[in-house]
Amino acid sequence: MKKIFLILTGMLALVPAGWCGYEEKEETSINTNFIAEPISPQCAPAAQAPAGDYPYYGNAPDELLPYRNIKPFYQYWLTRLPFRGPGKDYPDPIGLKTLRIGLLSPPPYGPESVRGEMSKKGVMLAIEEANAARQPSELPFEVIEKVDSPQWGSAANIAVEFADTNALAFIGTIDGDATHVALRATLKTEIYMVNCSDPDPSLTETQIPWLIRNFPDNRQQGYLLARLIVEERGLTKIVVFRANSRPGRVGVRPFVDAVRRLGHPVLQEINFKDGDRTFDTQVAVIKQANPEAVVFWGNPAETGPAAAQLRAAGVKAAFYGFDRLVDPDFIKLAGPAVAEGATAAYPFDLEKTDPAWTNFVARFEKRYGMKPDIYAGYAYDGTQMLVTAIKKAGPNRYRIRDLMAAIDEYTGVCGYMRFDGRWDNIAPIVYAQFLQGRWHFTPAPKLKPVKTAAK
């Protein structure tokens, strides 16, 4: 009886102290060298992304949809995936001297180095302009540049370094492998990623709600080429000549699928290795197929010599490719005569005369002494989008994410952008044809009407 009394007395004594069943919790003792992550009294879930009826499948025409005669059991990206974790109510960190933005650049000695350098110029110009225009009460932006290495997985380590340096977001990169790897790390570090240059169509298909891409990807470019080649130009004997790499394999897939859906599957898909300069075996095989169109999917260092060797072997097919065919190195390595008539999908007309673009070109030339290309343009626009979001959200990664993820439309120096349910820019693109020594651009077609939850 005495025992019962003691137990009850002991337990009742705990009630006024707010005991809730686990006294060991109150005895918690821990090191105090916590990280500087902001402390939140209440972590409310993030707001849901707007539920809109977003353009489906990259705004592809109905005839290019896979399994289009079957109603799939389940469809994704009809709405945007929200981020439901806490963080947007975290108080701003104290003692910031700059607003840090990471820049993941490709290796300076790799195949993407020139494009990477132009991207960096676009980023830096946008940051310089933002800092020049800031009010005295505003913190300056600071770019933390990290250069990737050609080793698989290097970009993941760099994405972690951005977290270690308290970057609010980061921009990059071009190589599809590196971008994928970095994106995967962002899901853990929860740092928003702005991509302005990777054409990999699968990048945004991974359901990571920490990414926006303003660069028209290989899906947009592949569909345009497929319709141009098959429907407009009536060419049906098509050969693909692509890099034997992940960008080549994954990048050309939308085109290959599209021409098949249009009733004319490619005759051959021939590979080359990055670094190859002679293509005797491939040229012989392609010549035997006697194609009407050869579609290149690779970098100009290989596609330029390949085009020259195909012509020298007597292949009369028209040449096509994605935006890298417009790279000056393609003309240089193939030769103007071989390149005559070559056609490429391209994001926009580089010779457009709207004030936004021409003013940007003038500022860029003044700053760097050279004309910008599409990589500089999209990097500038992407940085501007991010700067605007950071200014509005303050130094909070989650609020920055929410603002970036809510973008449906944007008009920058590159032109109009419309973002779909995966945060991909699906605005219409153009094609460029090399005629008499220069590239000629067609106007972009009108965009298929779509509903969006426009902001």
Binding site: I30, C43, Y74, R84, G85, P86, G153, A185
Partner: protein, 380 residues
């Protein structure tokens, strides 16, 4: 008799205590309207640990109860060990290679704890930390998403390949896109099975490694398209695997597109709105017996594939238990307590309790002692 008396005494004391304090911790169990048994335990009450309760950060990535009964917790800033009701932190200053701890696995034969971080692998043994980096070992990459131990080998899922460390010889083997069927070497998780290892790969579905025959078999999404699930129950729901778990012959795959189950002959898949799955975005799956605990961005579900219970907060912030039995309408119970946060990143559960790593704290679940709840099989 003495034991019975003590139990009775304690139960009487607790009942009296609750009646006096008004604490409605067991309200959920008391308001049950459906008495059908569940094939797994029902959570009665959550006890949560936030920053103010000793967590070094909001984000808690993983949790594991070791064979010596100590609780290990991986956070955004170091690992925690819970001993005698207190959390002891192991951080960079203690030799950990990076503050962000993403995963842990125990070598039960030695008691060593292997700790995967966003920069390097660590072995915690007898109070000392030994690190393994890609620059000083055979580790394929420093970002480590998952760990598993099978016999004498430690399997390490990294951002650039699957590393296998022979714990006896110290020899490393790397599996990636050059020597397996994985298209990209982006490995997310590993799960040991009887004579096999399942590997979750980001973009290549699931690989099964046969330890005897030393060959890989791949399981891929049959429609190979990320925009839709063409036919359900046809294979892995998607090739972007976020986690794999295995127990008692059942393989579970989580993705950001839903989840899948494979029993060796038949695949089943679940998507939100077309099944009781509360969200397609699944961070983690824990398998215990023939039951899976599913960590999503909208709460936790526990299921055997037919019956589901989901624990989450409603719009008013109240805790809910949503019970879905085959062929019956969803039964919703309000709970006096709830998860620390519905964004769940890691789980550990057995027949007695469950722990949840979330984006805002660590949660501990006590199960209802309902005699109607069928006991979960424990054989591994």
């Amino acid at each position: 008799m003495k034991t019975m008396l003590n139990s009775l005494t304690l139960a009487t004391g607790i009942a009296l205590l609750f009646s006096l304090s008004g604490t409605p911790d067991v309200r959920a169990a008391e308001t049950a309207t459906n008495d059908l048994p569940l094939p797994f335990p029902l959570i009665e009450r959550f006890e949560n640990f936030h920053v103010q309760d000793g967590m070094p950060t909001h984000k808690v990535h993983c949790v594991l109860r070791a064979s010596d009964d100590k609780l290990w917790v991986g956070t955004y800033d170091g690992a925690l060990v819970r001993e005698d009701g207190k959390f002891r932190r192991i951080g960079v200053e203690d030799g950990l290679s990076h503050k962000m701890v993403l995963c842990m696995v125990e070598d039960k034969r030695t008691g060593d704890m292997w700790i995967g971080t966003m920069r390097g692998l660590n072995r915690y043994s007898a109070g000392r930390v030994t690190t393994y980096l890609q620059t000083d070992s055979g580790l394929p990459n420093n970002v480590i998403y998952g760990l598993g131990i099978v016999d004498d080998t430690l399997w390490v899922a990294t951002a650039a390949g699957l590393g296998v460390l022979n714990l006896k010889t110290g020899e490393w083997t790397i599996y990636d896109h050059t020597n397996t069927t994985m298209h990209e070497p982006w490995v997310y998780s590993v799960a040991g099975a009887n004579g096999r290892v399942f590997v979750g790969v980001w973009g290549s579905g699931i690989l099964e490694y046969d330890l005897t025959r030393k060959i890989f078999t791949e399981y891929r999404d049959p429609d190979r398209d990320f925009h839709f699930e063409l036919v359900h129950d046809a294979g892995p729901i998607n090739d972007v695997t976020s986690w794999v778990a295995w127990d008692e012959g059942i393989l579970w795959q989580s993705t950001y597109f839903g989840m899948s189950r494979y029993d060796g002959s038949r695949w089943r898949t679940w998507e939100e709105k077309k099944s009781p799955l509360v969200s397609n975005f699944i961070n983690f799956i824990w398998a215990h017996g023939r039951v899976a605990w599913v960590g999503t961005d909208r709460g936790v579900s526990v299921t055997d594939g037919d019956t589901w219970v989901t624990y989450r907060a409603n719009e008013n912030g109240e805790g809910l238990a949503e019970i879905t039995r085959p062929g019956q309408p969803v039964e919703t119970r309000t709970m006096a307590t709830k998860l620390p946060n519905d964004f769940v990143l890691g789980i550990w559960a057995d027949d007695q309790e469950a722990w949840f790593a979330t984006s805002d704290g660590l949660g501990h679940a006590n199960f209802a002692a309902s005699p109607k709840s069928a006991k979960v099989a424990t054989a591994k």
